[in-house]
């Protein structure tokens, strides 16, 4: 074999390998495009079907047997109240667990169990949380099929998200900050309270927003605990004009939430209700997109601004 032919063969080999490189690059772009296209199709499809229906009436009306008059008032009020309960429980519990695991926990079997457990909980299907809530909150604790039961369920569901975000935010704080604080005579709690928590707050907030965005779109566990699908009244208002000003009856009221309202409309045969479903879906997607977008933006800013 002459050297020239050898060289030709090598060149051909290189060209072939480079061709594969390019082909794979194109495949990658194509795969990404499938995601982008699907998302655009989903968004446009819903916007086209639903936007004409969206209006002030839609937001301020109760669901109705007549598709043209139905609205999402009870659904979004229910969602807001449930989110209130969820945040009330998930945020303190999640942040406290994260702080404990990063700052306090000793390396022993209890810590190992807690950590493995959190990883596993993140993989448990959401409907199983619904079954837990049905057995425990609804019947054992007798909270009924109420805002409180739903809020607690979703709080447990997003707890791993908040915990993991808190831990990651705390882990990125350099050890020197803690040592500086201890050197000034601060106790461990003072270090956490005045240094660790403030410096990790943006990262924690990111996790909370992502968790809440997930909770607002969760349907299955809320259906499982028996949320009603047709509600033409509002829970009692949490604030009243007579003392004691706060009213906690709403915690035990029946309710529906946005995704359930959408599910209800989607499963009806009449086309007019599908338009309502599209409009409700559009509101839902817009809300979760806004929340996730805010979280992403926050994280992006965080990455640029903090230089330890």
């Amino acid at each position: 074999m002459t050297p020239a032919r050898d060289l030709g063969k090598i060149r051909a080999l290189i060209a072939r390998h480079k061709r594969w490189d390019m082909i794979f690059g194109l495949c990658g772009l194509l795969a990404l495009m499938i995601g982008v296209l699907t998302f655009s199709a989903l968004f446009l499809d819903m916007a086209l079907d639903g936007l004409p229906r969206l209006g002030w009436d839609f937001i301020t009306s109760f669901p109705s047997r007549k598709a043209g008059q139905a609205g999402i008032l009870s659904a979004w009020v229910g969602s807001a109240l449930v989110m209130l309960v969820t945040a009330f429980f998930a945020v303190p519990l999640g942040v406290a667990s994260g702080v404990y695991l990063e700052e306090y926990a000793r390396k022993n079997w209890i810590t190992d169990i807690i950590e493995i457990n959190i990883t596993n909980l993140a993989g448990v299907p959401s409907i199983v949380y619904g079954l837990l809530a049905l057995g425990l909150f609804v019947y054992q604790f007798d909270f009924g099929q109420s805002v409180l039961s739903a809020g607690l369920t979703l709080a447990l569901l997003i707890l791993p998200v908040v915990i993991v975000a808190t831990r990651e935010a705390i882990r990125s704080i350099p050890q020197a900050i803690r040592e500086g604080s201890y050197a000034c005579g601060a106790t461990q709690w003072q270090t956490v309270r005045y240094h660790i928590l403030p410096y990790s707050s943006a990262g924690i907030l990111t996790g909370i927003i992502i968790g809440m965005a997930r909770a607002i779109g969760e349907t299955a566990p809320v259906i499982t605990i028996g949320a009603l699908t047709f509600i033409a009244f509002l829970p009692p208002a949490p604030v009243q004009s007579t003392p004691p000003f706060l009213n906690f009856e709403w915690l035990f009221a029946g309710f529906t939430v946005m995704p359930i309202q959408m599910f209800n409309w989607t499963s009806r045969p009449e086309a007019a209700f599908l338009v309502n479903a599209a409009a409700a879906g559009f509101v839902l997607v817009a809300m979760t997109l806004a929340m996730n977008g805010a979280a992403i933006w926050l994280r992006y800013r965080l990455r640029r601004n903090i230089k330890w």
Binding site: H17, W20, D21, F24, G25, G28, L29, A31, L32, I34, G35, F39, A41, D45, M46, P92, S97, V99, Y100, Y104, N117, N120, L121, G123, V124, P125, I127, V128, Y129, G130, L131, L132, L134, G135, L159, P160, I163, T187, Q188, W189, A213, R214, I216, G217, T219, A220, I223, T224, G226, M262, F263, T266, S267, A278, L284, V285, T288, L289, N292, I296
Partner: protein
């Protein structure tokens, strides 16, 4: 501090020391109390797991006193709400497995390709745009995906294959697969980015192309992380509820053909929960038995994944 050194009498000094000691003791006590509170908060997640297992097992035990385990596993009919009740979980399991298989056939190849592309090929700007975008894709509520599967993907598929019924596992599975892509791709990508640069540089120095490096060096080195991503994808697919409840129909159907409608374990639970079953009836307990099956299935996936990871873990 009130006591000024040198100016006070010895007795005052002693009192000051006593006060300081008391303050320190209360400070230590407070620190302990705070640690205990934080520890209790961390235990909540453990109690959640215990609660899940307790509730599922408690209700399932009652169920299995009524229905023999053997029937549950081998019966080929699932009609728990009829007078002639049959409890063959196989029927629901077939729906779950078929739809999951369709979803994974979409999510695993596409997710892996996207991960390799973003980690090894994509220019910085593409990655900066694509990653948040994928995250948004993963944040869309599943009920919205269900609507999309039923009213957009199914009609689209019916244009290609006119015999397709309005409810079917195929379109639900496809949409589910697209929903899972971000989970698979983001975890796989993280694993690939964690592979040390010098492995890649060694490969490039030998004259390998980017594709060869990605396939023969980076992917094998990151295989344990990629496996975790697949496991997560599987448990998402098996546990997905709303897409199937909306788009796959709720008729129990023992089939492995994705072109047919069929109920899954999760869709059945939703269907029962929407009805009005009295607490303590056999129908009520069925959903816990179904939930226990689901839970055991995902647990098996997780344990299997853990063992796989241990076996193939690469340490740098």
């Amino acid at each position: 501090m009130s006591a000024v050194p040198g100016a006070a009498s010895p007795m005052l000094d002693a009192a000051a020391a006593g006060a300081r000691l008391k303050r320190r003791r209360s400070r230590v006590l407070r620190e302990r109390a705070i640690e205990a509170v934080l520890f209790l908060a961390a235990l909540v997640s453990v109690f959640t797991t215990i609660g899940i297992v307790y509730i599922l097992v408690k209700e399932s035990v009652v169920f299995f006193q009524e229905v023999p385990l053997w029937d549950f596993l081998t019966d080929t009919q699932w009609t728990p709400l009829f007078t002639d009740a049959h409890y063959g979980i196989m029927v629901l399991l077939s729906g779950t497995l078929t739809s999951s298989a369709v979803a994974l056939a979409i999510a695993i190849p596409l997710g892996t390709i996207i991960a390799i592309y973003l980690s090894e090929f994509a220019p910085f700007s593409v990655r900066e745009i694509a990653k948040p975008f994928l995250e948004l894709l993963g944040g869309v509520p599943t009920i919205v995906y269900g609507y999309f599967a039923l009213l957009f993907v199914t009609p689209l598929l019916q244009m290609i294959y006119p015999g397709l019924p309005g409810f079917n596992l195929l379109s639900a599975g496809i949409v589910m697969g697209i929903m899972i892509i971000p989970y698979v791709s983001s975890i796989s990508e993280d694993a690939m980015r964690a592979v040390p640069m010098n492995l890649r540089e060694g490969s490039y120095a030998m004259g390998a192309t980017r594709f060869q490096t990605a396939i023969k060096v980076v992917v094998p080195a990151a295989i344990s992380g990629i496996a975790s991503a697949y496991i997560l994808g599987i448990s998402r697919a098996v546990g997905e509820t709303m897409i199937l409840a909306v788009a796959a129909g709720q008729q129990p159907n023992l089939t492995f053909n994705p072109l047919e409608p069929a109920a899954t374990i999760t869709a059945f639970i939703v269907q029962v929960a929407l009805g009005d079953l009295p607490h303590g009836s056999i129908g009520y307990q069925t959903i816990f038995a179904a939930g226990l099956t689901l839970m055991l299935f995902t647990l098996a996936c997780n344990v299997g994944g853990h063992l796989l990871r241990k076996r193939f873990r690469e340490v740098y």
